[in-house]
Structures are given as structure tokens and as C-alpha cells.
Amino acid sequence: MKINLGLAQIAPRLGDLQANLDKHLDYIDRARAAGVDLLCFPELSLTGYSLQDLTYTVAMHPGPGNPVFDPLLDATRSGDLDLVVGFVDRDARGRFFIASAYLAAGAVTHIHHKVYLPTYTLFDEGRYFAWGDDVRAFDTRFGRVGMLICEDFWHLSTPYVLWLDGADIMLFHSASPGRGLDSGDRLSSVRWVEMINKAYAGALTSVIAHCNRVGFEDGLAFWGGSFAFNPDGELIAQGPYYEEALVLATVDTNDIHRARYRLPLLRDERTRLTMRELERIHAPNAAGE
């Protein structure tokens, strides 16, 4: 199956839900005109990233009846375009999560809460947000998919868990501020994100797509450069750095099977062995603890 994937690397306006919704609807129109089947927006695409005390005022309950989600759900109702959007999820008990929602055929079919909240150097997410506690693959009309948000995929375990849970297509999204200017052609943090995702694509023989926002928030420069890697770890599309763009990538899901004939890493993966060793390492009375 061929999937026409769109990566909307936008610059959200900090804390302005209406302006960001309008931008989403504009990119949805452009994507539909370009024949896109699945359109992904970046982390916190509806709210902006450095929310601080705005966290509490931009949070929402996703789904029907929400004035921001209703027009987005309408956009998917015809069934020819699925969406991934980023927002602040507020649960019934007043906890806030950095979240991504998958929207298809007029419904929210999956929500991922960010499970790793960077709270170091320039990052302060743990001050405002609760930690997500699930990493789950889910079914779409394109096959089984996994979603992760930025820092989630800086940890090896999360893509691995999604892979074992059946995900063949990984949809990653970020609000990644660039850092580390040296003599290289890209900032060092940019090189790191590109390297690790290329490695995941090859090691998991899976499709990896990453949508990263652009624009500035105070002094933070979000670098864009959204990309897709095929299951051989080869780059199939990449957007410009530092500019808004609708990045188009055609993903051939048959590449996944072909890669796995040649390199049966999934077939040979010894999950039981991994679990046994993890249980030994985490056993409460293990030697040395």
C-alpha cells in the first residue's frame, strides 16, 4: 500500500488556540489538495510549546463538543484524510498531559500522553505536566501505528515497545529547540535527532516519520527539518530547516515486508529473553541491591 504522508511543520502561536486551529485548517486544505492521506502536526501544535502558566488555560478535553476539536474531526469525517494533532490534555481529575491525538473518520481513535518529560537544562516540562504512563500501538486504516512525542524517542525503550506491540509505522512529533552551534552543517542536537531516527528505522525495519515545528518562542529556535525514513533506514523525504512547510512523503508499506525478508530482526527478536533479563535486573531482591 502507498501512503501519501504529509508533515505540517508549522510555527504555532503561543497560547492562541483560534489562530493555531485556523492554521491547522489551512494546512488540512492544502494537504487534501495535494492528495495527502495522513497529515501529522508537531508536538503541542494547537497551543505552542513554552506554555508555562498558559498550560492551565489552553488545556482541553479532546473529542466531540470541543470547539477546537470539532472542526478537526469534521475534516476527517469523509474518511480520506487522517490527522495527528498536538494539544494539552486535561483529565477529569485536573492533571495536564502533553498529548497527541489520532483522528480518523470523525473520531479520536487514539491519544498518546508524553511519557518522558524533559526537566533539565532549558526544559521545564515536569513542572507543569503529569507523566503519561502508556506506550501503545494502535490500528489505523494504514496498519498498526505508534506515536511518540519528542523526548519519548530519546529513550530506546519506547520505540522498541511500540515495535513489539505491532507498530510498523512510527509517527513521531516534536517541538525541538535547536542547540549546539559548531562548525557542522547542522546544530549538534539536530544531528542527534536525525541519527537516532535513521538508526530506529533500520534497527526496527519500520517506517519512521518525524514532524518538528519551526518558529521562535522568545530565544528558542525550533528547527523543522521534518523527515521520513524507510525501513532500510534511508531518507525518503525531508523538509526545510527553520521554515514552515507541508512536507510530502510517499511511504510504500510493502517496503516493510521486503526489508524483513532480507533482515528478519522482528522474526528473530527474543522478547522472552529480554523480559527475563529485565525481570532479573528489576527483581527486588536481586544480588547487589
Binding site: 513554552s50 498558559l54 562548525s183 521562535f216
Partner: protein, 292 residues
């Protein structure tokens, strides 16, 4: 002031070359990010213009080059603000930048602004007089900000900000500091790549607050020397002992770091004593770009 020889870094050629390589930057990338930063952070609050104080030195020249590229030269007002003892070369060098960029320019003498205060306090030393001049220039720039309808873009670089080699509410006053995360040596690389005129690149850095003043004479070490150390201590998070192990003279390391520490007050907003439940500066937390 004579340089204290104990402060001189005694690095091996190998370590010096390795650190200089670390301080090398991709100037095209820096230029791309910084011009976009200026364009976006000026236009988001509803402006399209900027005001830059042009001293004739490299920092303000580089800032004017970036601003002109980001906003269009017609939208950047460059203001020269000489005092009667300012080096004549400074005015001429600033003019080179104005001519090369084709920006609108203005010359506002600060002599009649500052002399009455100097006359009122005839015992003022160079330091006080220099601070008064820097703050008089701030007044001129912020007045032109209102007249021209542009944000004031500051010219401070990372070395200067870390060492506190700046006048609080004088040259430190600005809406943004595009060069604020580039060490002086990195900013020089960027300036060369952007085509800042050679006489500006080649002359010794000076605040030009009194005759014969040079930055490096006042600091007691060169920017090249101190940038290598600051890079290790700040960017690479070396502790002082690790920096000394790398070959820097202990007195130099301790002296520089003490200077960084003592000048922290110039890098933070004025302190507010928290007595209410929610307080700006403590837990009323929003970016400048709130809703922009």
C-alpha cells in the same frame, strides 16, 4: 592597566588548537538562525523596524548587518552617539557600515547630555563617567525607538555578558541580543563572513568611553584567551579544577570565574520580594511571546 602575568593562560599548542576548533562556527548557519530570530521577534509584537546604536566597533557592526538582512536596510535606524573625546576613527568606521548597508542613520552627540552631570560631580572617575555615557546612549536609543517605531536591538556578545563587561541599563538595555550566545571570537568569524569592513575587524576592541581605553587592556587578557576558558566552563560544564588540569593557569581560572559570579546581578531582572501567593518574577510565568 598592565596585564597581570599570573592571569595569562599557559596552554599547550595542542590544547589551544583543539579549543579553537571547538569555537569554530558554521557562520552561514549562525546567520540564518539569527536573521530569522530578529525578523520573527521584531515582527511578532507588531513592529517591522529596529534601532541599533553604532559605535564603530565590531559588535554593533555585526548587529547592524544582521538586522539589515533580517528586516531590510530601510527598516534599521543606525544611531551614532559620540562624546567629545570619542575616537574620530569610530565615527568614520560607523559611517563605513552605514554606507555599505544603505541604512538610515542619525548622529546624536551625547556631550551636551552628560557634561552637566560631570560638572556637578567633578570627582567622577572614568568608570562613573563611562556608565553615565552608556546610559545617555540608552536614553537616545529608546527615544529613537519611539520616534522611528522600532525595537532596540542590543549588541552584547556572550563573552561580554558572562564577564559583566557592560553597563547595567546602559548598553545592556535592549529588546533582544542577537549576538548574546556567540563568544567574541565566534562573533568575529560571523562578522568576517558577513563582510563587515576590514578596518573594523582589525582594530582592537574598545568601549571608547575614555581616550586609549581597550577592552583587553582593561580585562587583563585577550578575548581569544578568555573565550577558550569560558567555553569549557560554560558550554562544556567543566569545573574549575578540570579547567586547570586542561592547562589554564589557576589564577586565570579563578579570576575569570569570580568575575562571572560577581556579575550575575547584571544578567537577572531586579529582585522582587515574594510575599503574596503569586508573584511576577517567581511564579507568574509567561514568555515575552505570550499570545504572539
Amino acid at each position: 592597566m598592565a596585564a597581570d602575568t599570573r592571569l595569562k593562560a599557559k596552554l599547550s599548542d595542542e590544547v589551544r588548537a583543539a579549543l579553537d576548533a571547538k569555537l569554530e562556527i558554521n557562520t552561514d548557519l549562525a546567520r540564518k538562525i539569527l536573521t530569522r530570530f530578529i525578523a520573527e521577534e521584531v515582527t511578532k509584537p507588531g513592529f517591522k523596524r529596529a534601532v541599533v546604536g553604532l559605535s564603530g566597533g565590531i559588535d554593533s557592526a555585526a548587529t547592524a548587518f544582521l538586522a539589515a538582512e533580517a528586516l531590510g536596510p530601510e527598516n534599521v535606524l543606525c544611531v551614532r552617539m559620540p562624546y567629545r573625546t570619542s575616537a574620530p576613527d569610530s565615527l568614520a568606521d560607523a559611517q563605513r557600515v552605514i554606507d555599505q548597508l544603505g541604512v538610515p542613520a542619525l548622529t546624536v552627540e551625547i556631550t551636551p547630555m552628560v557634561e552637566p552631570l560631570f560638572a556637578r560631580f567633578p570627582d567622577m572617575d572614568n568608570n562613573r563617567r563611562g556608565n553615565v555615557m552608556a546610559r545617555a546612549r540608552m536614553i537616545v536609543l529608546y527615544d529613537q525607538s519611539a520616534a522611528f517605531g522600532g525595537l532596540v536591538i542590543g549588541t552584547g556578545n556572550k563573552t561580554e555578558i558572562l564577564l559583566g563587561y557592560t553597563t547595567l541599563f546602559g548598553d545592556s538595555a535592549a529588546a533582544m541580543l542577537p549576538l548574546g550566545d556567540l563568544y567574541k571570537t565566534q562573533m568575529r568569524q560571523l562578522s568576517r563572513a558577513m563582510g563587515v569592513p576590514a578596518p573594523i575587524l582589525d582594530k582592537p576592541p574598545s568601549a571608547d568611553l575614555w581616550i586609549g581605553q581597550t577592552d583587553e587592556g582593561e580585562l587583563g587578557y585577550t578575548y581569544a584567551e578568555v573565550d577558550r576558558l569560558l567555553y569549557l566552563l560554560v558550554d562544556e560544564r567543566y569545573n574549575l579544577d578540570e579547567a586547570i588540569e586542561r592547562g589554564f593557569a589557576p589564577a586565570f581560572v579563578h579570576g575569570v570565574w569570580q568575575r562571572v559570579q560577581r556579575n550575575q546581578f547584571k544578567r537577572v531582572p531586579p529582585l522582587v520580594c515574594k510575599i503574596s501567593r503569586r508573584t511576577q518574577g517567581h511564579d507568574f510565568l509567561y514568555l515575552r511571546d505570550w499570545g504572539l
